[in-house]
């Protein structure tokens, strides 16, 4: 290991402070990450590394740092989920159907990050079109979790933002952008011992992010600490006139909200989240979390979210329905891959049959079915009604509490191919996270402990709409109390 690699041990906040203190340069920092990325092929976290672009940006950042003109994220190298369109850099959503598609435009969220001085190390693996909870549906092959048990079985890093979670866990970037439609930030964070923050729907612009389910998609960071997540969100968030659903409200300095003081905070514990077959160690960790919060001065309140059991079925109607329409544009006519056919209908069938993977096709079929004449009322409309009831559940709960505490996932990281065999089992991964998307609320997963096999487990805090400051404050207290400091062994490192 070179001396430089030590820089990758820094949190994003520490690296920021170190650059400002001139302890090291942005180029040094960037180079150490580039070297680590180059030695991480076994993880398959990056599907496209952009070291030259990163170093050019680092050079510019060093100039600004020298000139005393540093921006909030000046010179900080991060990874970008391949769902974000990056100008001049191939963007595929990890689908064959986009081929070598290279956007001429930059997503609003990444543009915000670059304008604040951050720089990109490359594009990160994810489930194809963000459809999956294991990163196994990617056209670039699965991303592997840096964490392993003693038997060395390859484990999934969660999904769909598996590349983002794996990269942050393996120190292949100070943080990463990610997106969350049903749990795609929080579940992979929980499975990799990282912090994953899904903001309130509308907090970040969706402009330039490849759409999965428009009414649920939301961008957020995966980072090593709550503080890093707060710093990232401050830059990522903001109103964008080009996204009608982005909220026209000001963005606070989320880092400033981390006071460590949650005395008097009412933490709700929803009884419906005690699902059957939940491992006892998760149950125990959850109880531990309540104790930590109580010890920090919070009040634990029992609350009820009675429609929770309908959330997963409703989600798997609404998300595929929107996806079936959102993905219609990938037709081989204007960009991306095209397979010739006998006529135009055949060309569509050939192109989409070859370009979309099995899971994407499954969801497009489900979604098309749910919207079809004769089924719309029974499925799509009913799901929208459930969605309203779930949102009302949260509103009621928040009359009694300020944040909610739940497990993030029903299990720790699982072996490759396990979920693929049974799609329904994979869908169950989202059981604690989808409600938050359906209600449009912010949620964060914080690493809280290890299971019996030494794999990380996360706890989730759920906030009120646009209550990210309170949420992050509580999350940092939870993080501190949990004191999670384990690291994966570097079995993958080729250097």
């Amino acid at each position: 290991m070179t001396q430089d690699s030590d820089l990758t041990r820094l949190t994003l906040a520490q690296a920021r402070d170190g650059l400002r203190a001139k302890s090291f340069s942005a180029q040094e920092l960037t180079r150490s990450f580039i070297d680590r990325v180059a030695a991480s092929d076994k993880l398959n976290a990056y599907i496209l590394a952009t070291p030259e672009l990163a170093l050019e940006a680092a050079t510019r950042s060093d100039k600004r740092l020298a000139d005393g003109d540093a921006r909030p994220l000046e010179g900080l190298p991060i990874g970008v989920k391949d769902l974000f369109c990056t100008s001049g850099v191939r963007t595929t959503a990890c689908s064959d159907i986009l081929g070598d598609f290279t956007p001429t435009y930059e997503s609003k969220v990444t543009e915000n990050l670059w304008q604040d001085g951050a720089l990109m190390l490359g594009k990160l693996n994810n489930d194809e079109f963000a459809m999956g909870s294991s990163n196994e549906t990617s056209a670039f092959g699965p991303c592997i979790n840096p964490w392993q048990t003693d038997d060395k079985t390859p484990l999934v890093p969660g999904g769909s933002s598996g590349g983002s979670s794996a990269a942050v866990a393996a120190r292949l970037g100070l943080a990463a952008t990610a997106t969350d439609t049903g749990g795609s930030i929080r579940q992979p964070a929980a499975l990799t011992g990282t912090v994953g923050l899904k903001p309130t729907y509308g907090r970040c612009s969706r402009w330039g992010i490849v759409a999965f389910a428009s009414s649920l998609d939301q961008a957020g960071p995966i980072a090593r600490t709550v503080r890093d997540s707060a710093i990232m969100l401050t830059s990522m968030a903001g109103h964008d006139a080009r996204d009608t659903t982005s909220a026209d409200i000001s963005v606070p300095d989320f880092e400033a909200a981390l006071t460590g003081d949650i005395r008097g905070l009412r933490v709700g514990v929803p009884q419906e989240y005690r699902v059957d077959a939940m491992p006892s160690e998760i149950e125990t960790l959850w109880q531990q979390g309540m104790d930590w919060m109580r010890d920090a001065g919070a009040e634990i309140v029992d609350v009820s979210l009675p429609h929770t059991k309908y959330a997963l079925p409703a989600y798997y109607i609404i998300a595929p329905a929107e996806a079936s329409s959102n993905l219609a544009r990938y037709d081989g006519v204007r960009y991306g891959a095209r397979k010739p056919g006998a006529d135009i209908d055949d060309m569509y069938a050939q192109t989409r049959g070859a370009g979309f993977g099995e899971e994407v096709q499954r969801r497009l079929l489900i979604g098309t079915y749910a919207l079809s004449a004769g089924y719309y009322d029974a499925y799509y409309l009913k799901a929208l009604q459930v969605r309203r009831l779930i949102a009302q559940d949260f509103e009621k709960a928040y009359e009694k509490c300020d944040v909610l505490l739940t497990p993030t996932t029903p299990s720790a990281a699982f072996a490759l191919d396990k979920a693929q065999a049974d799609p329904l089992e994979m869908y169950l991964n989202d059981v604690f996270t989808v409600t938050v998307n359906l209600a449009g609320l912010p949620g964060i997963s914080v690493p809280a402990g290890l299971d019996a096999n030494g794999l990380p487990l996360g706890l989730q805090l759920i906030g009120k709409a646009f209550g990210e400051e309170e949420l992050l404050r509580a999350a940092e207290v939870l993080e501190t109390a949990a004191g999670f400091s384990s690291e994966p062994t570097e079995w993958w490192n080729a250097s």
Binding site: C85, T91, A93, L98, F101, P103, T104, Y105, S107, R206, W207, G208, I209, V210, A211, A213, S214, S215, A241, R242, D243, T244, T245, A321, E322, S324, S325, L327, A328, R329, D331, V333, R334, Y335, I344, D345, Y348, T368, L371, S372, A373, Y376, Y380
Partner: protein, 493 residues
């Protein structure tokens, strides 16, 4: 109410046609419904396409408020209910000129609800046709099949252009009523400035729903004739389709609900797709767009800027200018025509001006295939010409010649009438001495006719004609008439 004259005869008795129209009118705006791309007609292919119009990954629609304003303005012009809460839906289907794979439209909750239009029928009759709804939607691009032997090309310039779909009630019962409806609707849209109504350029086109029934029966099964793009074709399509349906039924057949195409070359409709083959569009609310809402003040502000509409203008022309319903109707058919008339008639005899505008200007433009904007004769010049007649500087007959000189191509085109009259010496001769001499000459040369005239006083007209001829039309006709009668010794009748 059905009028008897609208019924058409079949071998089993009379039939009634029932017609409803869905008119697609392109919203007049500088940019598209959900993107900032331009909408100029006739631009090079694919030069007016934004990332949104091409449905690039991650692109999102943003409503163009100018189009919303235009839809509300149109709704107000149709005396329709304005819905301050409406919803954009996606209509899903695959086609190469539909980049998103769906059209953003309004399905269950349109921006404008029920309204009505008064249409003008032959003989000055008026009929009210109900408007069911008006909604905003995106236009598709255009597939070009004639550019390459094996491939089709796509031009996305129109992709995303804002359309208003205006749906009528099935209140029309003849081709003529349907044509009158489209004419009136087009006039209203043009008055409002919300659609240029240019059917040749495709900024207005109609889907025509036709069914037939025996008077008093339930509605028959309808066929929809898609995308008819001229008023003449609308008439032809209805006439043909109604006759086809009657023949099918009278031959013992059944009408199948289907979509048909009108072939202007053959003047007939033919089947495009049956109900069974119809798309399942899987409409659902567009999750990229919030429901469209606006305040009552937004509507009030637009209402305050509404112009005088054709019906009101027609009534005013009849009341203020004393014009006939027919003349007023002709004059208000286009706002520009009405403005031309009002400018010409300012401060002078309105009826005489209306006659000149309709009989000379419109007739001339029509013949030359020009619009009022291209008229070689200006409104003020028409007024001057009317003045020259009323102050007896020239006769009506000479005025016609002068107008032709002003209108037709040539060295006098576009000149002021007084200059032409002056230069060509066309002033009416009112000098009785000169006229008297001319009358005397004609009488002297035609003694036989003089005898006849004494027996048959109507023969006086022949002498008047001769005198007018010999004076080149410049003699004051009244003066000539009086002198002829006096010289022939005929009592003034």
């Amino acid at each position: 109410m059905t009028e008897k004259t609208n019924l058409i005869a079949g071998v089993t008795g009379d039939w009634e046609i029932v017609i409803g129209l869905e008119v697609h009118a392109q919203v007049t705006s500088d940019a598209k419904l959900f993107s900032g791309a331009a909408t100029t007609f006739g631009a090079e292919p694919n030069t007016q396409v934004s990332l949104v119009d091409a449905a690039m990954p991650g692109m999102l629609p943003v409503i163009n408020w100018k189009c919303v304003e235009q839809a509300v303005r149109t709704g107000l012009g149709l005396k329709a209910q304005i819905n301050r809460y409406s919803v954009f839906d996606r209509k899903n289907y695959f086609y190469p000129d539909l980049p998103q794979g769906y059209q953003i439209s309004q399905y269950l909750q349109p921006i404008v609800g029920e309204g009505e239009i008064e249409i003008d029928l032959e003989g000055g009759a008026v009929k009210t046709v109900g408007i069911e709804r008006l909604h905003l939607e995106q236009d598709a691009g255009k597939s070009l099949h004639d550019q390459h032997p094996d491939l089709s090309f796509v031009d996305l310039n129109r992709s995303g252009v804002a359309l208003m779909e205006i749906v009528s009630r099935p209140d029309m019962h003849s081709a003529g009523e349907a044509q009158a409806y489209v004419k009136k609707l087009r006039a209203i849209l043009r008055y409002l400035g919300t659609c240029d109504g240019n059917m040749e350029q495709g900024s207005m086109r109609a889907d025509v729903n036709v069914s037939v029934r025996k008077p008093g029966d339930e509605l028959g099964t309808r066929c929809e004739i898609k995308n008819v793009n001229s008023i003449r074709f609308i008439g032809q399509a209805i006439e043909h389709e109604a006759r086809r349906q009657i023949d099918v039924i009278e031959d013992g057949g059944k009408i199948n609900q289907e979509t048909r195409l009108f072939d202007p070359k053959r003047g007939e409709t033919r089947s495009m797709r049956s109900k069974e083959e119809a798309h399942d569009y899987r409409y659902f609310p567009d999750p990229d767009l919030l429901p469209l809402t606006f305040s009552a003040e937004f509507v009030d502000d637009i209402a305050r800027t509404l112009p005088e509409l054709p019906d009101d203008k027609k009534k005013r022309f009849m009341d203020d200018y004393g014009l006939s319903a027919y003349d007023a109707g002709v004059l208000v058919s286009e706002a520009e025509n009405a403005d031309f008339f009002e400018l010409a008639a300012k401060g002078r005899d309105a009826k005489a001006t209306a006659n000149m505008v309709i009989g000379s200007v419109f007739a001339g433009l029509n013949k030359a295939g020009l619009t009022i904007a291209d008229s070689p004769v200006q409104a003020e010049q028409v007024g001057q010409l009317v003045d020259l007649i009323s102050d007896q500087t020239i006769s009506s007959r000479i005025a016609k010649d002068v107008f032709d000189l002003m209108f037709d191509e040539g060295s006098d085109q576009g000149r002021d009438p007084s200059d032409i009259v002056e230069e060509k010496g066309l002033k009416q001769v009112t000098d009785t001495g000169a006229i008297e001499a001319a009358v005397d000459a004609v009488i002297a040369a035609n003694p036989d006719k003089v005898e006849q005239a004494k027996a048959k006083p109507k023969m006086a007209g022949w002498f008047v004609g001769q005198v007018m001829q010999s004076t080149g039309g410049k003699a004051n006709p009244q003066a000539v008439n009086q002198l002829v009668l006096a010289k022939l010794g005929i009592e003034d009748q």
